[in-house]
Symmetry: C2
Subunit: 417 residues, 2 copies
C-alpha cells in the first residue's frame, strides 16, 4: 500500500527504536567511563560497521561501500534516476568519546528511513543514509577524511597513504577490516545532504530549545609543528648551552592560549597533542611535536589569529634556542550552508511547533566537506551542558526526538518536491 504524501506531513519517528540502536552501539567499543572508544578502522569499528550494515539490510536498503570505507545505504525512489537525498554522519569516536557524537546522525538517518517504511511512504527521490569514515581524525589526519575524499577535496591515493602514527596506512586498515569497497559514488548523484548532530556546546541546553539550524561553520586552521633542539644532561648543562625542545613547545602553547583569550568569547585555540622525545628523567628533550588549532566564526579573524601565532614562531625559536618548523597545515570551515535547505528546515520546525534557533558550528563536521559539492544543511540537537568529546556526553529521547522529527519531515518534503 502506498499512502499519499500530503496527508503525512506529521509522521513521527519511533524514538524507542532509535534508542535501542544507540544503546546497542554503546556496547561496541565501550570506554572506561560510560562512553565509547571506537577509533576509525579499529576492530570495534568493523563490528559497528557490520552491525549497521545488517540493520540497513533488514530495512531493505541497498548497501554500497566506496574506496574510502564510506557506507551508503539506499532506499529506492519512485524516480530512481532522480538525484537522491543523503542523510548521515559518522560511527567512529574519539579515544574517550561519547555515545552520540556522529552516531546519532547516522542512526537518525536510518530511523527516518525506517519510519518511511513503517508508513509505506513512497518518495519521488531515492533516500540514502551514509556513514563517513574517520571523521574524528584520531588515528588518521586530517579529520573528516572519508567525506573529504568523497567530495574530491583530497587525492584518493594520498588518502590511502595516510599513516596511523607511523604504522598502518589508511588503505591497509580499510582492507584489513573488509571495508575497502568497490563502489564509486559521485556527488552529482545527490540532490541534498542533511546531517543531524548533537550541538557540542550548551546554547540549546541553556536556552531550552530543541533544534539548532546550522547556518555555517567556524573557520579552523590546523598546524602540526616540529620543535627541534638537542638532548643533553639536565644537571650539568647550563641554561645558555641548552636547546630544549620542550621549552620551545611550552612557549608556543602559552602564546596560543593567550591568542584564544584575546579573541573571547568566539575565538578558540587549542594544542591537543604534544609528544616529547626522549621524554625521560634527566634528559633535556631534543624533539617536541605538537598539533594546534585556531578557530573563529569570522574567517578573516581566524586568519588573523593564525598569523599572530605564526609570527610568534621565530621568537619562540630564538628564546628556546631551537628550530621550529610547520610540518603540515590545513584549514576547514568558513562554510555557509544552503539557504533553501535552511529555509526548509526552519519552516518544518515552525510547522511542527519545535523550538529552534540559528547557530554556527565551531566543530568540524563532514557536512563542511559535503557542502562543497552538494547543497547541505545541518541540524543540532541539545546535549547536556554542552559536554562532548568526553565520555560524559549525555542526551535523552526527550531532547532529541523533536529534532529527528524535523529531519524526517524536512527530508520527506524535499524528497517529494
Amino acid at each position: 500500500m502506498r499512502v499519499a504524501v500530503g496527508k503525512l506531513n506529521r509522521i513521527e519517528i519511533d524514538s524507542a527504536r532509535l534508542w535501542r540502536d544507540l544503546d546497542a552501539s554503546a556496547r561496541i567499543g565501550p570506554g572506561r567511563a560510560g562512553g565509547l572508544s571506537r577509533l576509525a578502522l579499529s576492530d570495534d569499528d568493523k563490528v559497528m560497521r557490520d552491525t549497521f550494515v545488517s540493520w540497513c539490510k533488514e530495512a531493505d536498503l541497498r548497501v554500497r561501500v566506496d574506496a574510502f570505507g564510506n557506507i551508503f545505504a539506499r532506499r529506492a525512489g519512485l524516480e530512481e534516476s532522480s538525484p537522491a537525498i543523503l542523510i548521515g554522519s559518522h560511527l567512529d569516536t574519539q579515544i574517550a568519546g561519547g555515545r552520540y557524537d556522529g552516531i546519532l546522525g547516522v542512526l537518525a538517518g536510518l530511523e527516518v528511513i525506517r519510519t518511511l517504511n513503517d508508513h509505506a511512504v513512497a518518495t519521488r527521490r531515492p533516500i540514502e543514509v551514509v556513514s563517513w569514515t574517520n571523521e574524528e581524525g584520531v588515528r588518521f589526519q586530517p579529520p573528516m577524511l572519508g567525506s573529504g575524499a568523497f567530495a574530491g577535496i583530497y587525492d584518493p591515493d594520498w588518502v590511502h597513504r595516510q599513516l596511523d602514527g607511523g604504522r598502518a596506512t589508511f588503505a591497509a586498515e580499510l582492507e584489513r577490516i573488509g571495508y575497502l569497497g568497490p563502489d564509486h559514488l559521485c556527488p552529482t548523484q545527490y540532490d541534498s545532504y542533511f546531517e543531524l548532530h548533537i550541538e557540542q556546546d550548551d546554547v540549546l541546553d541553556a536556552e531550552g530549545l530543541h533544534v539548532g539550524i546550522v547556518t555555517g561553520g567556524f573557520k579552523s586552521f590546523g598546524l602540526e609543528l616540529c620543535v627541534a633542539g638537542e638532548n643533553a644532561h639536565s644537571g650539568p648543562t647550563p641554561m645558555r648551552r641548552r636547546r630544549n625542545a620542550l621549552v620551545g613547545a611550552s612557549l608556543l602553547i602559552a602564546r596560543l592560549n593567550e591568542i584564544g583569550w584575546s579573541h573571547e568569547p568566539e575565538g578558540r585555540t587549542t594544542c591537543s597533542r604534544l609528544t616529547v622525545e626522549p621524554n625521560r628523567y634527566g634528559i633535556i628533550p631534543h624533539l617536541a611535536e605538537l598539533t594546534v588549532d585556531l578557530r573563529h566564526p569570522d574567517a578573516a579573524t581566524a586568519a588573523e589569529m593564525c598569523s599572530q601565532f605564526r609570527d610568534f614562531l621565530p621568537l619562540a625559536a630564538l628564546k628556546a634556542n631551537v628550530e621550529i618548523a610547520v610540518a603540515r597545515e590545513w584549514s576547514f570551515g568558513d562554510v555557509a550552508f544552503d539557504a533553501k535547505l535552511i529555509n526548509l528546515v526552519r519552516s518544518v520546525a515552525s510547522d511542527l511547533g519545535v523550538s529552534h534557533r540559528h547557530l554556527m558550528s565551531a566543530a568540524g563536521h563532514d557536512a563542511y566537506n559535503i557542502s562543497k559539492v552538494i547543497p547541505t544543511v545541518m541540524l543540532f540537537t541539545p546535549c547536556r551542558d554542552g559536554v562532548s568529546h568526553n565520555e560524559r556526553e549525555h542526551i535523552e529521547p526527550a531532547y532529541t526526538a523533536p529534532g529527528v522529527n524535523v529531519l524526517l519531515n524536512a527530508v520527506l518534503r524535499r524528497a517529494t518536491a
Copy 2:
C-alpha cells in the same frame, strides 16, 4: 712474587685494555647514533652484567650480588678483615645515552685492579669494584636507586616495589634477569669509596685539564606534578569553560625555565618528562604529568629556586582553571666529599704531574648516596664539549688515562696506608 709497594707509586694502567672493554660494552645495547640504549634491568643490561662478571672472574675476583642487583667484585687484601676500598659507578645508560657515562667508572675500577694484578701488588686492604643498579632513573625512579638502597636511604621493600611505568616491579625485573642476589653487603665493611666519571660539562675540556677533583655536588630538587583538568571538544568549548591540563603544564614549564635563567650561570631548571592525556587531535587534554628538576651548587639558593617554582603552582592552576598537585618529590646533592680523600687525590695528581682543578658536580651520582655512609671522593675526566646523556658523548684514551692513573695511585696509597 710480591713487589714492595713503595717502589710502585708510578704504576700505570693499560689504557688499550680499558678501551677494548669500553668498545665491547658499546656493542651491548647499541643506540641508533653510535651511543648506547641499555636501560636498567633490560635484556641488554643482563648481557652487560654477565660480561662484567666474567671479566671480574678472569681477574680472580670474588663476585657478590646484593638484593638490589648491585655487583661487588673483590680483590683480597693482606688483611682481609680490614675495611675494603670500593671503586665503582654504573653500567646502565639513558635511552639515548653515551658509551662512557657510568661505564667508564666501573671499567676503570676493574682496570685499576687488573693493573695491580699485573704488577702483583699486594695491598693491606681488600679492593672491590662495584656496579650500582639503575643509576639513570630511566625505567625506575628515583635515580641512583641501587646505591641509595645499599646506603640505607631507601627502605628495601619500597625499592623492590618500584614500577617501570606501571608495568613490572624492580624486584620482578631483578629476578627475571637473574640479579636478585643473595648477598648482604654492609657500608661498615668499607673504608672509602672512589668514583671516576666523565665530567658531563665542558670545564675540563675548555681549560685543557685532565682531572676534576669533585669537592661536592649541586643541590637538586625533583618534583613530579600532576595537572588535572577536563577533556572536551577543542572546537565548540569556549576559552572560559576550559580546564586545559596542557595549558597548565606549559605555564609551569615556561616559568620553570625563567627561574633557571634568573639564576644563571649556576642554576639549572628542567622539565624532562611530560605526558598528556588523551593527547589526541581535537580534544582538550584532561591530564598532564610532568617531572621537573631545579639545581644550584648552593643549597640555600636551590631551595629558594624550588620555592619560587612552588609559589607559582597556584597561579598556574588559577590561570588554566586546573588542579595542580605535587605527586612526588625528592632531593639529592648538597654533599661535601671527604676532605682527606680530596687531599689524597690532589696530592697524587700533583705527584704524577697530572693537570687538575676542583669542581662541583651538577649531575647526581651514586657517590652522593655512598658519601652518606662511607668517606667518598669523585674524580672527573674530560668529555668533548661537555656533551653527555647523548649518543654523541665522546672521550679518548689521551683524555682519560691520566685520570685513571690518578685513581689507581690514590687507591693504592689508601689501600696500603
